[in-house]
Amino acid sequence: MTRFPKFITSIGYAGIVLVQSVGYFPSVFLRSDGRRDLFRQLYATGIRTLPVVTVVSIFMGMILALQVGLELARFNQENYLGAAVMLTLLREMAAFCCGICMAACVGSAIAAEIGTMKVNDEIDALRIMGIPPVRFLAAPRILALLLMSPVVAFYCCIMGTIGGGIVGATQLNVDFGQFMSSALWMAADKDLFVGIAKAAVFGVLVGDVSFCEGMGASLGATGVGKATQRAVIVSFLAILISGYMISRAFY
């Protein structure tokens, strides 16, 4: 029998889980139990990540403004600071920041939860009851990440811009109002839509990868720990690679 390298079979499995999950999305809305699970996941994905996302995005905007502002000041172009920060956030950094926070906060939790269920025989119990684990566990989680990631990315963008504006006003002598008008002047629909689409893709990848890694857990608590670690690492890689590919396709 031909043995494929493990990473190829893993990609294949992740692809199958993703396709099956998308097929189960309608059932998540149609079943009352599914809707309840979806709301639980939306809460975990959105509300519970907000504190981390807020801090990360504000500081990311501040760092961006400081680094870009110092260079712009050398050419007396500080007026464009808002535009530079906004463009960077909209096109790349907001989605990226959101994806990383989702992988660290939500993906790790999904992998740990599914991994624990796997080693505690709960996944086998679902199969015996005739309940497909992908429908019951993966579909609500991936759908929640698909719906919530763009919202969180947009929120990242707003908070990052505010952070950048604060640095501009306090350290680079750029008026906050001027910073904001420059930022809004430069923002284009395409940048917004590509950024949001990117965040949605990152969210789906984090959910898919984390579920699959959790399902691969074995050997008790050690196995769950390893699965969680792998879920975060693979999610980061998936975010970086897909982020580049999406940017390449649109710009």
């Binding site: 079943r31 139990d33 639980r40 269920m117 505690n120 025989d121 709960e122 086998d124 119990a125 199969r127 015996i128 009851m129 005739g130 309940i131 019951f136």
Partner: protein, 234 residues
Amino acid sequence: MGEKVIEFVDVVKRFEGRAVLDGLSFAVERGEVFTVLGPSGTGKSVTLKHIVGLEEPDSGEVRVADARVGYLFQSGALIAWKTVWENVALPLVETTRLPDAEIERRVASALEAVGLSDAADRYPAELSGGMQKRAGLARAIVRDAEIVLYDEPTSGLDPVTSAVIERLIVGLNRERGVTSVVVTHDLAMAARISSRIMLIKDGRSVACLPPDEFMRCGEREVAEFVGAAKGERK
């Protein structure tokens, strides 16, 4: 001879080259309490997983009658974020189109059968080990299971709770005619509840006899196991 509901014919299963089941053959008849005994790591749980299709044999054949099968896992395997009621209702909610009133009736009946009506609103983490197993059992029988498979139903439980589980196994068998396959290494319990006991060693059936004959069996492996189990109890 009664109707066979489960039959293993020369089943072989290997994990990473090691044969866990090595030519295992036996049959379970309708209405029996059939106990699979053996030391840890001899393929008892793997045998159960073959019955429900979680494992496929490398060779040989597993025949299971067309019947509703329930499975009680060693840990209870309850879903952590659902209450006892929701856990027991899960197979009905997810796999049937029964009206809510009928689901409520069946869940209430299953919980009553295992004596957990008062704990319906509690989460698995709030239950003792014995209560988790009883909740798992309620979930296993809620679809009117004709065959129930028990994986180490009394392991890790105190003698009083073990006796409750034993009574439930026997009660389900007598009152509802449930065919039971019990995997355990508890010889005393096996002797009390079983119609027949099978000893597995190295993935093969060493003996398959009614309890009284099993306890007197002169087969070396059986005598060793019985002797060791009696010594343990002393």
